[in-house]
């Protein structure tokens, strides 16, 4: 086995880039910050590719099984001898894969941003935070223990907060960033308590002990029961709560659509390709624990994923803001990944769901980042997010048009684009394990194709809008990343994932199951054709359909009023129901009691003021009686 010590450079160069741009960025020409940030990510990408190549080409392989390699591990904080937080680097198939995903997308987004953010007053700040984000995200995936993950988990949360609020003078962006942070923080509370319970059962934070299928953690895991489920199951469900927060699973998904207030490249990087799949990644990281000692928790995850996926896909069909359509599409696709994990078992070919989930994560990162960057390019050209105001853009923006089409075909699951391959594996895995989930994923496949092509036709075909200044293709710094990612969406489906990234590290053979693939493609094509019929040419048909659906359409369009429910909980219950009474109670009751005591003391002192009358007889009287009392008391003590 090779020693991968050189990886240490990656977090360091990104951290230095963050600090350097953050401190000095304002003093130099802004473009320097962009170049510095892009350079550090470029180095990261090169190192990640070298690592991935050498790891998968045999350096990580022992007896046909990919090993966990820890090239670097240092003590950061020690609670007890066993409960130690290390800062380290763990290489295994999923972390190496994530290195590739994060560095690729991040590099593309950096290059794209050089053009997209040009002239922005917060240019340096933007690149500094991008470096912080990339640093934290890479730290998250290469963590050697669950507490290290938690640390970087919080850091990606705060980078996301900072980047969503990039346009900090815009109230909606401020509100969105706040919402994102608080919702994920709430979820992280579950994660934290989950870690506490987990570390208490197993006595360790370390992944290599926690997820060792023959290790003590899994062997002793489910002894104590609480409310019908083992404590281990509860702990893992709580950890999943954290995952649900980051990965925007129902009902914690509400922050993601709002997060689109951030600059579009940020949405591509954080809210489509990398951070939002952290939840999927963490479940995969702890997968042996889930599969072997808490199958109930895994089952739960599968159903949460399926429900979220369907729910978000339905909403996506009605939204008109192009970034929001993509946001709901992201939620839906992540739900699909969770579903795939939920139908997976551990070991060999039974781990098909796990492998397909990771495969889909990889492909999704590429085509979803592409979709967002295309959307950014469109928004850049027409200065609007509303798809009703677009149409006919294919003539003005050929590169964006073609790359967007590629991404749409990929996400819809049309062969030979990448989404087809991973979705097929997910469907097969679901089919073998749980028929309900299989049907749900088929429906989702159809809906996905429909809403994506609804978007595609509305933007690039449909009516020929009159634009104030005619839209133009984006500069090459923006077009090149699009072409690269489109190329990736074309080829990544052919990567033999089942040989590389599996639950137990041992590869297995897969092939396309035409019995499932053909119906899936047919359903997807049906979705595309429906969208084409409705949206390719301008017609009143869509309006008539929505009108006939009436209140049902409104319900979906309003995202099932989940936001309003949350608003009620936060405004009415937390603010007016708890905080305001607490503040009132503190001032009026607790404080007034204290003031009351003071007032009583004052009152008594006024009353007994008369003792100081100046009359000598009275003083003598009091003095003598006092002395007698003291003498009596002393005698009493003496005798005792």
């Amino acid at each position: 086995m090779e020693n991968f010590g050189y990886i240490v450079i990656v977090p360091f160069i990104l951290l230095i880039s963050f600090i350097l741009i953050g401190l000095a960025g304002g003093r130099f020409k802004p473009s320097l910050s962009g170049i510095a940030g892009t350079f550090s990510v470029f180095v990261t990408t090169v190192i990640s590719y070298i690592t991935a190549f050498s790891y998968f080409s045999g350096a990580g392989l022992v007896n046909g099984v990919y090993q966990k390699i820890i090239p670097y591990n240092t003590e950061w904080l020690r609670f007890t001898d066993k409960l130690v937080i290390n800062m380290g680097i763990l290489l295994d198939p999923i972390s190496v894969m994530m290195l590739v995903v994060i560095s690729t997308v991040s590099l593309m987004v950096h290059i794209y941003s050089l053009g997209y953010m040009k002239g922005d007053s917060g240019y340096s700040r933007y690149f500094s935070f991008l470096s912080l984000f990339t640093f934290s995200m890479i730290g998250l995936v290469i963590s050697t223990n669950i507490f290290e993950t938690y640390i970087f988990w919080e850091l990606v949360g705060v980078s996301s907060y900072l980047l969503i609020g990039h346009y900090y003078q815009k109230p909606s962006a401020v509100a969105a960033s706040k919402k994102a942070f608080v919702v994920t923080r709430f979820a992280d509370l579950g994660f934290l308590i989950g870690i506490l319970i987990l570390s208490n059962i197993t006595g360790t934070f370390d992944y290599s002990i926690l997820t060792d299928p023959n290790g003590p953690a899994i062997a002793q895991g489910s002894t104590i029961a609480f409310m019908g489920l083992s404590v281990m199951t509860w702990a893992l469900i709580l950890v999943f709560m954290g995952c649900a927060g980051k990965s925007a699973m129902f009902p914690l998904h509400i922050w993601l659509p709002d997060a689109m207030e951030g600059p579009t490249p940020v949405s591509a990087l954080i809210h489509a390709a990398t951070m939002v799949v952290a939840g999927v990644y963490l479940v995969a990281r702890l997968f042996p624990l889930y599969a072997l000692s808490a199958p109930a928790a895994l089952h739960f995850i599968g159903y949460v994923g399926a429900f979220t996926s369907l729910f978000a896909a339905i909403i996506a069909c009605t939204q008109t803001d192009i970034k929001r359509v993509l946001a709901f599409s992201t939620i839906s696709q992540i739900g699909l990944m969770m579903l795939a994990l939920g139908v997976s078992d551990y070991g060999g070919e039974k781990g098909l769901g796990y492998m397909s989930s990771m495969f889909h994560l990889f492909n999704h990162a590429m085509f979803k980042a592409l979709l967002f960057l295309c959307a950014g390019s469109v928004i850049h050209a027409v200065h609007s997010n509303e798809m009703n105001g677009m149409g006919g853009l294919r003539k003005f923006m050929p590169v964006t048009h073609i790359t967007f089409l590629v991404a749409c075909l990929a996400i819809a699951g049309i062969p030979p684009f990448s989404g087809f391959f991973s979705k097929d594996e997910i469907l097969v895995a679901a089919f073998e394990k749980d028929f309900v989930l299989f049907i749900v994923s088929m429906i989702i496949a159809g809906l996905t194709a429909f809403y994506m092509f609804r978007l595609y036709f509305s933007i690039f075909w449909n009516k020929n809008n009159e634009y104030k200044d005619s839209p133009h293709e984006s500069p090459s710094s923006m077009a090149v990343p699009l072409m690269f990612l489109a190329f990736a969406s074309l080829i990544t489906g052919f990567i033999p994932f089942s040989k590389l990234v599996t639950a137990d590290g041992a590869g297995f053979e897969t092939h396309i199951h035409w019995g499932i693939a053909v119906p899936a493609v047919v359903i997807a094509l049906a979705g595309i054709l429906t969208a084409m019929a409705l949206y390719k040419k301008e017609s009143g048909l869509p309006q008539r359909i929505t009108a006939s659906l009436g209140s049902l359409y409104r319900l979906i369009y309003k995202k099932f009023y989940i936001d309003e429910i949350y608003l009620f909980i936060t405004k009415k219950i937390i603010f007016n129901g708890i905080s305001a009474p607490v503040a009132w109670f503190d001032r009026k009751v607790v404080d007034n009691t204290m003031n009351g005591i003071a007032a009583v003391t004052n009152f008594i002192s006024v009353k007994i003021k008369s003792f100081q009358s100046g009359q000598l007889q009275q003083y003598a009287y009091v003095m003598v009686s006092g002395m007698i009392i003291i003498i009596l008391f002393a005698l009493y003590l003496w005798n005792k």
């Binding site: 003590e75 950061w76 904080l77 020690r78 609670f79 007890t80 409960l83 937080i85 507490f147 938690y150 640390i151 970087f152 919080e154 850091l155 705060v158 907060y161 609020g165 900090y168 003078q169 815009k170 109230p171 401020v174 509100a175 706040k178 942070f181 608080v182 923080r185 709430f186 992280d188 509370l189 934290l192 308590i193 506490l196 319970i197 570390s199 208490n200 937390i574 603010f575 708890i578 905080s579 305001a580 607490v582 503040a583 503190d586 607790v590 404080d591 009691t593 204290m594 003031n595 003071a598």
Partner: protein, 500 residues
Amino acid sequence: MDILILLILVPVLTVLAISISRTKEQIRMSAAVGMGIQLVQATYLVFAYLAERKNGNVDDMLFVRSWEWFKSFNIQFSIGVDGISVSLIALTAIVIFTGVLTSWKVDNLSKEFFISLIVLTTGVFGFFISLDLFSMFLFFELAVIPMYLLIGIWGSGPKEYAAMKLTLMLMGASAVLLLGILGLYVNSAAAPGGLMTFNIIDISRLNIPMEVQRIFFPLLFVGFGVLGALFPFHTWSPDGHSSAPTAVSMLHAGVLMKMGGYGCLRVAMYLMPGAANEMGWIFIVLTSISVVYGAFGAIVQKDLKYINAYSSVSHCGLVLFAILMSDKISANGAVLQMISHGLMTALFFALIGMIYERTHTRDIRFMGGLMKVIPFLGVAYMIAGLASLGLPGLSGFVAEMNVFVGAFQHSDTFHRIATIVVCSSIVITAVYILRVVATLLLGPIKNNDFNLIKDAVWFERATVIILIFAIAGIGMAPLWLSDFISRSLDPIILKLSMIK
């Protein structure tokens, strides 16, 4: 000369130097130089302490010196330090130095101001090095009394009321404390093999009878707890902080409240472990309330200083909570939290003072968009906020995680539920911190006058940078500080666990 004696002597000499200074320039220079020397000394003490430990000195207390004071009462003046007090001394030195810097522009009676401020600090340093309950109490009083003048004269708003309230409540607490201390003194003779003594080390070797502990543990815990903002005795904090001048708020929330936590740990818990284990649950309930209640209280406040005062109630409640867990990890967390809260709250109050000087209001309803005009202070405020909500990489996270992990080592339902309740504060804290950051710094600029205000000047920058440096330093490399403290916790935890 002995380093610990110098720690008290230098402030005294500084006071003398200030009192003979003639110009304002001389006054503030002597204050700054004096406290600068103090900071150097504190740093030296840290390294001297480490060196001594490295040489294999395993005594509980180092640099111990003792002088007879009142021989007939067996009262000594004895001093000595361990990892806990050294780290708190370092905290005090940082806070007072930055406090002097932020007071650079105090013009009104500046001589008297700096004298009171430094007399107060002398009390704090004396408190932390005392090994004798008698001198500890004297220093405690020395720290509390100048507070009355500082708030009453240089304060703002209803300052007489606030000063009176704060002083009376803390005086009430000292009355209770005095009772507790005398109780310990008298009853140290009742313990097998004991003499009447105020010496903490001597008392810690005794087993005070349980029935005595039951009376005096609550007295001492409440007495110190008032200073540590124990619910329901915390109400001096919002009023006191909001009326106090900037440097006094910094010192008070940053350092004085820590004397409460330190006293609870060193005196109440250490000397009376039996009652601590038996009656701890009452205070665990109260401190859990403090933590959550303070955080909820902070959500709806409108005055920046009130927000911070309530936030301090919450964070200092966590200190007392962690101490009560009588677990080594969480006790370590308690000390870390004292240091971390001391630094970040000093930063907060310093920034609030600087912002107030520019905007002439502390009401967040009238503010907005300040990030655009004062980016340096804005970013610093954000960092303080992120430290407060426990972002990894800053000091608050390390402290909180120690407390939570430590508290969770108890496997009974009561302690676990209390821990989960206390954990929930991380969400509530995020809510109020982000609310204030959003209304104060972000969004459009609300008031056109704000367009004219200027960013920080040199002494303000120095204050902010020193504090942020300390916060981030602890947050990024916590191990050395944690190790520094944890060895000194052994005797305390050992005593607490022997009783169980």
